[in-house]
């Protein structure tokens, strides 16, 4: 990939990241929030790929692999927690799950 395309790729990653962030902030359903987090993770992964390709560095792809692994771990734990929360409280609405206040 040539250097001039990196701007486009970074802008795309930025847009995806913002979409994910907005999703996390506005959704109340825990499942959708996790999907939005996944979007944010992948946006950053895309930025790594683009940067790695632009400077001909392999670290970009290594970081991509790391992000994917992180995402998988996050989903495994997050889904488990969501399942347990649903069993206990019969709901996955984060506005109702606010018992952990100070």
């Amino acid at each position: 990939m040539d250097n001039q395309y990196i701007d486009h790729a970074i802008i795309l990653a930025g847009i995806l990241f913002c979409l994910g962030l907005v999703g996390v902030m506005v959704r109340r359903n825990l499942l959708f929030m996790m999907i939005s987090i996944e979007v944010m993770l992948n946006a950053s992964a895309l930025a790594f790929i683009a940067a790695g390709s632009a400077w001909d560095q392999a670290e970009g792809q290594i970081m991509f692999l790391a992000v994917i692994t992180l995402g998988a771990a996050e989903v495994a734990v997050g889904l488990g927690l969501t399942l347990l929360l649903f069993r206990h409280h019969n709901s996955v609405d984060v506005d109702q799950l606010n018992k952990l206040r100070g």
Partner: protein
Amino acid sequence: MHQLWLIPGLPLVGFFLLVLGHGRFTRSLARLIGVGSIAIAALVTLWVALDFYSPGAAQTYQVELWPWFTAGELEVSFGLYLDGLSLSMLFVVTGVGSLIHWYASGYMWQDPDYQRFFAYMNLFVAAMLMLVLADNLVLLFLGWEGVGVCSFLLIGFWYQDPANGYAARKAFIVTRVGDTAFAIGLFLLYRELGTLDLPSIMVLAPEKFVMGANQPTLIATLLLAGAVGKSAQLPLHIWLPDAMAGPTPVSALIHAATMVTAGVYLIARTHGVFLQAPDVLLAVAFIGLFTLLISGFTALNQTDIKRVLAYSTMSQIGYMFFALGVGAWSESIFHLMTHALFKALLFMTAGSIILALHHEQDIRLMGGLRRQLPVPFWCFVIGSACLVALPPTSGFFSKEAILNASWQLPRYGPWFWAGGVLGAFITAIYSFRLLFLVFFGAEKAQPHEPKGWQFHPPLIILATLSLIAGWFVLPAGDVLPSSPAGHPPMWTIVVAIGLPLLGIGIAYQVYVRHKWQALRLAHWQRLRQFWFQGWGFDGLYRRLFLTPFTSLAQVNRNDIIDGLPTLLIQLSRFLHRLFSQLQNGQLRVYIATLASAAIIILALAISTVGK
């Protein structure tokens, strides 16, 4: 003389046995241990004394039992030192002590805490013997504090009554003032002489100190302060009358015969230092003179039989200080011994009267006991005769010797002599007032005389000893500096014998024949009240020390210094409350906070990079 360690050892073993077996021993066994240990110690003392006086024996005997501690160059050991002076004190402590223990075994028989009582008494005797036998001042200080603790424990023996606890604390705290000065004196002495070993101090003090220079004066003043506190002399005398709250045998042993004379012993023991400080020696004489006069006047109108005896004890110890001050060293120790005998006798007789009247101590409610209590009566007569120094009782020899020595003192001599004779005159009035009020006049109570082998024999032995002790020569020998030589004019001796007789006559006229009523203090209410309260020293100290202290404590009741840490606590608590507001459980608020913070940081980073 190798059995010397047994003398303080036996009472200590007795104490440990009684403490470890607390509640398990029968009364008879506790009595056997408590009295037996002191009695055997007395026999060992006799044995040691026979060795000591055997021809060809050394004049002093020093033995190091084991090292105690080492700090820098100071090496302190558990060492015993025996010379004529400590031997005389040994006789007083073990001899009079065992008679008092014997008596106490009957006096305290009904008490539920019989075993605890003897445990304390044995510990006291052990500490007192440690004090007397110590070969260095650190060990002497250990015994000194030990007797203080035992005095505290025994004054507050009947601790259920808060008044007794108050008296115990008062005695402990007031003597503590003197003890602190004493400890500082020891530090200074070590700094100046580099040793606290008693025989070395005696050698080094005249070599290293300049007569009347600052160091010996300061050290002697501090040692004197310790002695004044322990021996209940002005101005630290206020604890002794209240110490009478303890059981009567305790008053006889601790607050008449032994512990209160420890101050006299201390000054005699460290006379090498005092001789280099003539000003302090003069102060000792003045303190003694004022104490003997003030407490004598106070004793004139007390109503509690034990308080009269307490003030008379202060007055007699005043004589001992007076004697030390005027240079009559061995006379002072002689008076200490005779006083231990007759004052223990008086206290134990008073104990018998108190027991006979079911713990009544007010002499206004006594009277006419002469016929009902013949043995205590005669013992009391003998004790009073010694106290008043009627010839040929033991008190006569010791007091006469002191008065004669005081006359020899340059410049102030006759004045001191006059003060001492005035004190003897007052002594005669108050002791015979007590005797006449208790044993003569109308019968006011039905006594229940305590009889048995614990009550009469010790009294009779002590009475005999008090009568004849004057004929013996003090074994202190050449330990103490010699007294001023020479004889005072004949008329002084006549006056010194005559004035006490006049005092007895006045007491007889006023309290038995009820004549000369104008002399009764009842006519001068304000003076009576002033003397009754011990010249207002308690009130003065309350105003000078207690009131400012309590008002300061009142001001500081919320602890001003504590304010700073409290401020820190309140600040962190406030911040905690503030930040815990953020923790509201709303996940989306957290995310929004996180996002906005990230944006701010990014914006800051970009703007700095831009520059």
